[in-house]
Every structure is written in structure tokens, then in C-alpha cells.
């Protein structure tokens, strides 16, 4: 394992990968500042460019950008009260009041330092978990790999769709679309209708471009407001002084960085929990642990920026563990990272840990470097690039749609990809409006061949009884329990609320009855 750690570092510390890392981070920061664009759109837009590079360059480019987008989002959350992603709303709670109180620089300093330390904490968790994963994967055979694939699809689908059934439908539709093309075992063309372009499948780039990039652009164009307009007060002096004060404040409160990092890493480790739980959990923790905060939380307390930012970045390291070790993406972003890894020739899961451990550590190094560099670069670029938040979507969306089409074409060099991109964009828009899961569909599409191949192998080797193998049975039972957990919990809660409502009404009528009796007595 030690050799793999060094190999990963050596692969990164070459001129080209480092240049691509910095370039990716610069693009990520710019995208982070742009209105309405987040990590998913970044991954979708950059993935075709990464496919033409070697693994170290491609991963440095894409993961660098992905890591930096988050910091760009923090900057807009602090300066404009508009979070880059939904979960970063927590950063606005105290970050924006700090900026309004003339402490924008300090807030950015706290955010940068806690993001960097939190990110490093997540990487440490990732590295510590790899030996455990190495032990666990020795128990995995085709039936278990099949079951893990199903878990990955269900977790992603169910956690990001509006209802459990919609999550299942999203994942299943992704699987179904992935089966279009030549069957890897028999070579029979499935659902191609005689079109040779379809023999290699519908194409992951067309899917991600359509479902994430094009749909995002359409929604962005329709809303039509730049973030600085929807945010209420852009600050004149973007960074201001006090950045170093923020860094010192973070170092002084290292305990909250560690606790935030811990909460974030655990949220990342458990697929489906995601950044919202990490950031809110960490913010809630620091609020509950601080007696008599000055200033109070919600009015510009730096700890309210420090804790959630540390958690947000630590979460990424944590969520790489199930993604790389078992092929189960913890977040929507990880679903796209799996797609990118497949495009670069790596299959996340037991095979990757067994055969490409150096690439796993390369990813860990990239995440570590990008966390530190993104903070430094971000602080440097903020004064200049925060003005990008003033760009109108009318200017951005058409240009980025052009980039999406070019990306889809670049992957396959077939004009057919453009039609597929448009079709996926329509599906993506409908999915978004109706609460289906685009990430669930994507991971179904990506893991389709893995599920197909391992199910066929399981049936050949063990017959239908493969399902009764203890680990397989346990994993599939987890899928069922996970699927039923939400609706059952809601039903119990609704019943309890109803009962509480009934007893509350009874209590109220009893009280009213007593009061009327009393008044009658008084009369």
C-alpha cells in the first residue's frame, strides 16, 4: 500500500497534471462564481475534455474544478447571500451578516482555512478507510458486486427523488437505457433498430450533457436573474482586510474544525446523507456547544461559517470511500465522478481497489492538494472574479449550451450524440419538474453494464440460489429496508401527529369546558 501512496503522489507531481489541476481549479472557481452553476454542471461540462487526457491529467483537471466550485459558492454565499449549492445556505447564516458588518475579509479567511483543513480531514478519513475496504472486498464475488450495484442505484435514486417509487423508477430507467447496444456476452445488438451508431450505446456524455448541463441552462435562462440581482447587497470591497484574522480565528478554534470535519466525513461515508446533513449537523453542533456566543449565531458569528465549511469539504473525502471501494456513490456529484472514471478506463468498486490502488491514492492526493490550493487561489481571485456574479444568464446560457453540444460531439465524434443530448435534455427537464432523480438515472446508466455482467455471472456460477448467499442476501435486504424506511417512518409520524392532534383537541375542549363551567359558577 505504501508504494501505491507514493505512486499516486508521483503521478500527480508532474508538470502536466499540476498544470491541469491549477487550470481545473481556476475554471471551477469561475464556475462557482457564475450564477446558478454548481458542481454537477461543472462535472458534466468538463468531462468530455477529461476523456481525451491521461488519467492523472484528466482527474486533476476535473476533480480540481469540482473541489474549487464549492469555494466559489462559499464566496457568493458570504458576499451576496446566495449559496452556490442548496446546502451552502448554512454559510449565509453568519457569513453574509459578517460581510454586512464589514468583516467580509475575515469571513472569507475563515471559510478558506476551514475548507482547507476540513478537506484534508476528509482525505485522512479516505486514506484510513482504504485498508479496511481492502479487507472487505476479499469477501466480494459476482453476486455481491451485483447487490452493491443495486444498492448504489437505489440509494442515489431514492435519496434524490421526491418519492421512493420515483427514485426506483429513475434508477431502473437508467439501467434500461444502459442496455441499449451490443450485449457484451453474446454480441447481439439490443434495441439498436439497425443503427450502427447505437451499437456502442447511447453515450454517457450525451446523457450528462443533456440531463445536467442543458437542463440547467434552460432553467437558468428562464429564471433570468444574475445572483447579484437576486442577492440583496453586493459588497463594494469584495475581500477587504481581515483575511489573515479569519485564518487565525480558524486555527484558534481547531476543535470545531475537527468536529465539523468529523460530522462531514461521516455524512460522506454514509451514502445518501450528503452535504445538507453535514453542514446543518455541524452548524447545529457548534451552536449547541457555544454558550453565550458573541455575536449571536445568525448575526455574524465566525464559528457559524467555520463549522459548516469544514464539514462541507470533509464530506467529499468521506464520500469517495463508498464510491471508490464499492461503486456506491454517496452524492449526485459522485455519480458523475463514477461516469468520468469509467470514461477514463477505471471501474470504481472492488476491482479498482484491487488493481488500481495507485489511482485511488492519486485521487486522494488531488483532493488534498485541491482543497488547499483552491482556498489560496480562491482568496486571490475573489476580488477580481466575484464580479462574474453580475453576469446575466441571458449571456451565459446560450454560450454554455454551445459548449455542451461541442462536448457531446467531442466524446464520440458522431452527430448522433447531439440528437441524444437533446432527447436527454427533454427527459431531464421533465424529471426535474416532476421530482424524479437525474442522478439516479445517471448512476443506473453507469452501473448498468456492471449489474448486467455480474448478474449473468452469478446465474451461471450459482444459479438462482445466488440470492441466498449471506452477504448478497444481507445487501439486498438493506435495499428493501432502505426503500421502506422512509414511507414507514412518515406513516408512523403522521399517525402520531394525528393522535397528538386528537388528544390536543380533546385537551382544548376539556379546558374550554372547565373554563365555561367556572364562568357559570362565577355567575
Amino acid at each position: 500500500m505504501g508504494q501505491a501512496v507514493l505512486d499516486g503522489l508521483t503521478q500527480l507531481l508532474q508538470l502536466e497534471p499540476m498544470l491541469y489541476l491549477v487550470l481545473g481549479m481556476a475554471i471551477g472557481l469561475v464556475i462557482g462564481f457564475l450564477p446558478g452553476l454548481g458542481g454537477l454542471a461543472t462535472l458534466a461540462l468538463l468531462s468530455p475534455f477529461a476523456f481525451g487526457m491521461d488519467a492523472a491529467e484528466g482527474l486533476a483537471f476535473v476533480l480540481g474544478a469540482y473541489g474549487a466550485v464549492s469555494f466559489g459558492g462559499s464566496v457568493t454565499a458570504i458576499l451576496f447571500n446566495v449559496p452556490g449549492t442548496g446546502e451552502q445556505v448554512v454559510t449565509t447564516f453568519d457569513g453574509y451578516p459578517m460581510a454586512k458588518n464589514g468583516q467580509a475579509g475575515k469571513a472569507l479567511g475563515v471559510s478558506a482555512a476551514s475548507s482547507a483543513f476540513g478537506g484534508l480531514f476528509g482525505v485522512v478519513i479516505l486514506v484510513l478507510c482504504i485498508p479496511i475496504a481492502l479487507q472487505l472486498i476479499t469477501y466480494l464475488r459476482p453476486p455481491e458486486v451485483f447487490a452493491l450495484g443495486i444498492i448504489g442505484i437505489m440509494v442515489m435514486g431514492v435519496s434524490s427523488a421526491r418519492t421512493v417509487v420515483k427514485g426506483i423508477v429513475s434508477g431502473a430507467l437508467g439501467l434500461m437505457l444502459s442496455f441499449v447496444g451490443l450485449d457484451p456476452v453474446t454480441g447481439i445488438a439490443r434495441m439498436t433498430f439497425g443503427h450502427l451508431e447505437l451499437n456502442s450505446g447511447l453515450g454517457i456524455t450525451a446523457l450528462t450533457m443533456g440531463m445536467f448541463a442543458l437542463t440547467e441552462m434552460a432553467v437558468l435562462y428562464m429564471r433570468g436573474l444574475s445572483i447579484a440581482q437576486s442577492g440583496r447587497a453586493a459588497q463594494g470591497n469584495v475581500a477587504g482586510g481581515g483575511v489573515w484574522d479569519g485564518v487565525k480565528h480558524t486555527a484558534k478554534n481547531w476543535k470545531y474544525v475537527v468536529s465539523g470535519g468529523g460530522i462531514g466525513a461521516v455524512s460522506g461515508l454514509v451514502p445518501g446523507l450528503g452535504g445538507t446533513v453535514a453542514m446543518f449537523g455541524s452548524y447545529g453542533y457548534v451552536r449547541s456547544r457555544t454558550k453565550n456566543p458573541d455575536p449571536p449565531f445568525g448575526q455574524g458569528n465566525p464559528l457559524g461559517v467555520l463549522a459548516p465549511e469544514a464539514a462541507n469539504n470533509a464530506k467529499e473525502g468521506g464520500s469517495f470511500v463508498p464510491t471508490l471501494a464499492f461503486g456506491i456513490p454517496g452524492t449526485s456529484g459522485m455519480a458523475l465522478i463514477i461516469a468520468i472514471l469509467l470514461g477514463l478506463g477505471y471501474v470504481p468498486g472492488p476491482d479498482m481497489i484491487k488493481n488500481n490502488l495507485d489511482v485511488v491514492f492519486l485521487i486522494a492526493w488531488i483532493v488534498a492538494f485541491s482543497n488547499v490550493l483552491a482556498s489560496v487561489l480562491g482568496l486571490g481571485m475573489s476580488p477580481l472574479f466575484a464580479k462574474l456574479a453580475l453576469l446575466r444568464p441571458q449571456l451565459l446560457a446560450p454560450a454554455l449550451i454551445a459548449v455542451s453540444f461541442l462536448g457531446a460531439f467531442a466524446d464520440t465524434r458522431l452527430m448522433f450524440a447531439l440528437g441524444a443530448t437533446v432527447a436527454f435534455a427533454v427527459l431531464g427537464y421533465i424529471f426535474r419538474a416532476m421530482g424524479y432523480s437525474a442522478a439516479g438515472l445517471t448512476i443506473g446508466f453507469v452501473l448498468g453494464p456492471v449489474v448486467d455482467q455480474n448478474l449473468n455471472l452469478s446465474l451461471q456460477i450459482y444459479g438462482p440460489e445466488f440470492i441466498l448467499r449471506p452477504i448478497t442476501l444481507g445487501l439486498l435486504a438493506l435495499v428493501v429496508v432502505g426503500g421502506l424506511w422512509g414511507p414507514t417512518r412518515r406513516t408512523i409520524k403522521a399517525r402520531r401527529d394525528r393522535r397528538a392532534g386528537v388528544s390536543g383537541e380533546e385537551h382544548a375542549s376539556a379546558v374550554a369546558g372547565t373554563q365555561s363551567n367556572e364562568s357559570e359558577v362565577q355567575r
Binding site: 417509487v165 439501467l175 437576486s230 443530448t421 419538474a433 448478474l455
Partner: protein
């Protein structure tokens, strides 16, 4: 759930159901078990869609579809000491922009509908234009047109369109080593 929302939901579920049954039957017809796994997945999806259809039929107009609570709202409510006014405002804003639904994406105001139609037309024309005259001309002309339609100033539209056309030329020729004037018209 409004009447129109319910109707759209039902129609989409039905369309998916018909697709999944057709898919499963077609996959089951391939020889050598080539379509076995896809057929099983198609059937599972059909069962899930039947469950969804039954649920959607049971929902009365005005009744809400049972769904996951928006995480940000749920967690904000559980914060120790509750949420202050400013915090609640920020959460509400995120929910408004993050929680896309029928109201925000289908039942559109005239202004939003006009914008959606414009960007859809742009996307379709980009697709057709790329096949007809290649990427470079399509990018330049269409970006110029949509920016003028968006009431941007003439020089902004022209500069943006030329910049994008040059960037596309660099990408197509420099990175892809492809013909920039390809398509039905230029051959």
C-alpha cells in the same frame, strides 16, 4: 396537487409504463438470454409504475403528493434554538430556487414561457444548424440572434457571438482536428 399537475403526472407515468412493458417484451425476445437482465429490469420498473399509478389515482385534487421533506427545511427546523428571521429567509430562498416543481417548470408565467420557448428554439436550431453548416457558423449566428432577442446591446451580442465562434473554431480545429465547415451544406 392541482388538476393539471395530476393529469401531467398520470400521463407521464402511463407513458413510462407503456414504454417499460414494450421494452421488457422486446428484450425477452432476443435469443441466447441476451435480453434476460434488461427484461427483468423492465418488469421491475413496470411494477413500480403500477404502484405509482395507483397512488397517483388515489390523490384527490388539492391533496399534496407524499414526498420527502426538503432537507434544508427539515434540518433548519431542528436547529437548536430554532431559526431566526434572516436564516428562515435564506432557507426559503434556497427552497424556492432548488425545489423545482410543476409550478416553476410547467405552469409558467407568460414571461417565463417566452424565455423557455426561446431557449428551446435555440437548442433545436443549434442541433439542426450543427448538422447543416457545422459548429462554428451555427454558434456565431445563433448566439448573436438569441442575444438580440434577449435585448442585449448590439455590440455586446456581436462581441459575444464572435468570441464564441472563434473559441469554437479553436476547439473544433485545434483540439478535435475536425473540419470547421462540415455539414450537409458544405459537405
Amino acid at each position: 396537487m392541482t388538476k393539471s399537475e395530476r393529469r401531467v403526472e398520470l400521463l407521464f407515468t402511463l407513458a413510462l409504463l407503456i414504454f417499460s412493458i414494450w421494452y421488457a417484451i422486446r428484450m425477452a425476445m432476443y435469443s441466447n438470454y441476451a435480453g434476460r437482465v434488461p427484461a427483468v429490469v423492465g418488469l421491475i420498473m413496470a411494477v413500480a409504475l403500477v404502484v405509482q399509478l395507483v397512488r397517483q389515482l388515489a390523490i384527490r385534487p388539492g391533496q399534496k403528493e407524499e414526498h420527502h421533506e426538503t432537507a434544508a427545511v427539515e434540518l433548519a427546523e431542528q436547529l437548536p434554538g430554532g431559526v431566526g428571521e434572516g436564516v428562515q429567509e435564506a432557507v426559503d430562498e434556497v427552497v424556492e430556487t432548488e425545489d423545482d416543481n410543476h409550478q416553476t417548470l410547467f405552469a409558467l408565467s407568460p414571461d417565463r414561457r417566452r424565455k423557455l420557448l426561446a431557449i428551446v428554439a435555440y437548442t433545436l436550431l443549434f442541433w439542426i444548424g450543427s448538422m447543416a453548416v457545422g459548429f462554428v457558423i451555427t454558434t456565431g449566428v445563433l448566439i448573436f440572434a438569441i442575444l438580440l432577442y434577449s435585448r442585449e446591446r448590439l455590440w455586446v451580442a456581436l462581441a459575444w457571438a464572435l468570441g464564441m465562434a472563434f473559441a469554437t473554431y479553436w476547439f473544433v480545429v485545434g483540439l478535435l482536428s475536425a473540419n470547421p465547415w462540415s455539414g450537409w451544406i458544405f459537405g
